[in-house]
């Protein structure tokens, strides 16, 4: 606790608060622009934080994360287009509220729920992650390999509509992660004489290509005119009656978001929908959900911001990212000379406390930025994409170049931009590639280490309980996802058949 209080003194310096503030404001703008995600924003800005101190760098990046999670709700409520995937559930009740003239009410509840959810997530992170890191100190190579497999299986299970395509994306990402030097004997692999690849594919340029450049290309394909906003944004704080009504939902949803965020691979979009479902289930008036229920805005917003704190738990305590954004933060921390994981608490505890303090300050900044800038952010949605997209492309190329002042990184960004675009066209998810790039080296290094020690014996699968549990959970997540997909396909087919029967015979009786 003393360390955390000392960190507050460091974090509340003017330059750090400015960095966090800029991050939150930038993140909110990014989140408010449909088509731009928190992942893209953090990926674009990481290179620019390279020259900053750790605390300024992390403060800005965490600010973007928190800001984008809140910002996504603005277009969701005003134009029924979520700014980020995590705000998709917010549109279900936020937009109907806007349609009946209550946009201000919805936006103010979204702000308070986001801030509250962030605080809940950060509080749980501060108390839980040290405990998990102590437990993780008992992990050996076999456990870390099993953890990497578990993390990958979750992201495969929840990405896209096809498990096999998710697996293909993950294997592709794992193969990319083998480029560079062998982690055991240092011999070069797949570098084709290019020494720039000796340390592996440059992470940030690859990321910018996959998540930013590919989105620009996809956006250029589907270019549409920006919508004009006519809704009145007239209040900052929700009415006392609304806040009291939604308070239990906010607390519950913040905790749901935090715990879902703590599962490696699970992100804000899942947290938001799970919280929305739970709020509807436990509501006295579930029939109002989907038609402008205020709890339908509070629940997903508290959850997706709670997820931000939750996603930091496995990152800091295990070195395994909780979602795509924390995967990038892992890269940013490594660039700053820190290796997230259980040893970070032993060797860099002041830095860990600085991160905690920066997140708490970030939560306050989300409130201030949201309150002051709500009307401005509402207008940001109307920015012409025809001007915005080329500017994002320039920033992407510049961001890649600035990592090593090497034009080869720009070419790599463009190549991965093409790959990312083609992946999206053929319905392959991108998140497994990102996580595979992070977890691949960890999985290979630890597996080969264990096999050397055990003389090629794979007995860890059944002799080490933590490994057994993690590997079984990995298999279970894939099977459950496969069964769910089959169920959805069957239900869709049945609904179509019923529709066809009605069309042919003019009857509402369901076919047998």
């Amino acid at each position: 606790m003393d360390g955390l209080l000392q960190s507050f003194a460091a974090v509340t310096q003017p330059d750090v608060i400015l960095a966090i503030f800029i991050g939150v404001a930038g993140g909110t703008v990014l989140g408010a622009l449909p088509g731009l995600t928190a992942t893209m924003g953090v990926a674009l800005l990481v290179p620019f934080t390279f020259g900053m101190d750790l605390i300024n760098s992390m403060g800005m990046l965490l600010g973007i994360f928190l800001g984008a999670m809140y910002g996504g709700s603005i277009p969701a409520i005003l134009i029924r287009t979520p700014g980020t995937p995590a705000a998709a559930a917010t549109a279900m009740d936020g937009y109907p509220m806007g349609q009946r003239g209550e946009a201000g009410r919805a936006l103010s509840m979204s702000l308070i729920s986001s801030v509250s959810g962030s605080f809940i997530g950060v509080a749980v992170m501060i108390f839980l992650s040290p405990q998990i890191s102590k437990f993780a100190l008992k992990f050996s190579s076999a456990e870390f390999f099993s953890l990497a497999v578990f993390g990958l299986s979750i992201i495969i299970a929840i990405s896209g509509n096809s498990i096999s395509k998710g697996l293909m994306a993950a294997f592709f990402g794992l193969l990319l992660s083998t480029i560079g030097s062998d982690p055991i004997n240092g011999l070069p692999r797949f570098i084709f004489g290019r020494m720039e690849l000796y340390e592996g594919p440059p992470f940030i340029p690859t990321l910018i290509g996959l998540f930013a450049v590919s989105e620009v290309l996809a956006g250029a394909e589907k270019i549409i005119s920006a919508k004009k906003i006519n809704a009145k944004v007239d209040r900052i704080l929700p009415a006392r009656k609304d806040f009291i009504k939604c308070f239990p939902t906010i607390i519950k949803s913040g905790l749901i978001g935090c715990f879902i965020g703590a599962i490696p691979g699970a992100g804000g979009d899942i947290a938001a929908f799970v919280a929305y479902g739970e709020a509807k289930r436990s509501s006295k008036t579930p029939e109002d959900f989907g038609h402008g229920a205020i709890e339908g805005v509070a629940a997903p917003e508290a959850a997706n911001n709670g997820c931000a704190g939750g996603a930091m738990i496995p990152l800091l305590s295990l070195g395994v990212p909780g979602d795509a954004v924390t995967a990038i933060l892992l890269g940013a921390l490594t660039m700053q000379g820190l290796q997230p994981g259980p040893l970070m608490y032993l060797e860099h505890l002041p830095d860990v406390h600085n991160i905690f303090a920066a997140m708490i300050v970030g939560c306050f900044c989300v409130f201030i930025v949201g309150a002051l800038g709500m009307k401005v952010f509402a207008r940001v949605i109307s920015i012409d994409k025809k001007l915005l997209l080329p500017c994002i492309m320039i920033l992407s190329l510049v961001g890649s170049y600035s990592m090593r002042n090497n034009i080869v990184d720009v070419y790599i960004t463009i190549i991965f931009g093409i790959i990312g675009y083609l992946f999206q066209k053929y319905h392959y998810p991108l998140s497994p590639i990102l996580l595979a790039l992070i977890l691949g080296p960890m999985a290979e290094r630890n597996l080969r280490r264990y096999l050397v020690i055990s003389s090629g014996n794979f007995d860890f699968i059944y002799t080490r309980p933590i490994c057994t549990v993690l590997l079984l959970a990995a298999v279970a997540s894939l099977i459950i996802s496969l069964l769910n997909q089959r169920k959805i396909t069957r239900n869709l087919a049945k609904a179509e058949a019923e529709g066809r029967y009605r069309d042919e015979f003019g009857s509402d009786e369901a076919p047998r």
């Binding site: 020259g51 293909m168 294997f171 193969l175 500017c391 320039i394 920033l395 190329l397 093409i418 597996l447």
Partner: protein, 159 residues
């Protein structure tokens, strides 16, 4: 509809298998370390087997599926696709000329060209953004972030 989806999946699945086989042959060329049992080619080869298995499974599921996936075809006859290709070409040219020409000059030409390709015809707005944005970005990078972007033929003015 099903045929289009099936064809797209077969193309991507086949491409993945060909890629996997190529990786396998590349991995065979890795030097061996006689002091260790599992060499550098072990993990990549395991992954290739996984990729090929997943690809075959995806193609089989796509073949047996009653209702195919909906795909937007990649056809250069579509204006949308032409936009994407033009923007990609412009981006590659910009990457090639960034160093010799300079970030600012290349950026101005790039921004103007791409906003034009995207359909913007508000000339004053296009000129304003194309000229001001690269200068502002260059200034922020140099004086705030301490990163000097390529100066190319403008190095005598910008230094």
């Amino acid at each position: 509809m099903k045929q289009k989806g099936l064809r797209a999946n077969l193309i991507s699945g086949t491409a993945a298998i060909i890629f996997g086989i190529w990786v396998w042959f590349q991995a065979d060329k890795f030097p061996e370390d006689p002091t260790i049992t599992l060499n550098s080619d072990f993990f990549p080869k395991v992954l290739v087997l996984g990729l090929i298995a997943a690809s075959l499974s995806m193609m089989l599921i796509a073949y047996m599926s009653e209702k195919g996936e909906q795909f937007d075809s990649i056809s250069l006859r579509k204006p949308a696709m032409q936009r994407v290709v033009l923007i990609l070409a412009a981006t590659m040219i910009y990457a090639l000329v960034m160093k010799p020409l300079s970030f600012i000059l290349g950026g101005m030409l790039y921004l103007f060209a791409v906003t034009f390709v995207l359909g913007n015809r508000k000339w004053k707005q296009m000129l304003l953004v194309s000229v001001i944005a690269p200068i502002v970005v260059f200034y922020i990078f140099k004086n705030v972030l301490g990163i000097t972007l390529p100066m190319g033929i403008l190095k005598f003015i910008l230094r």
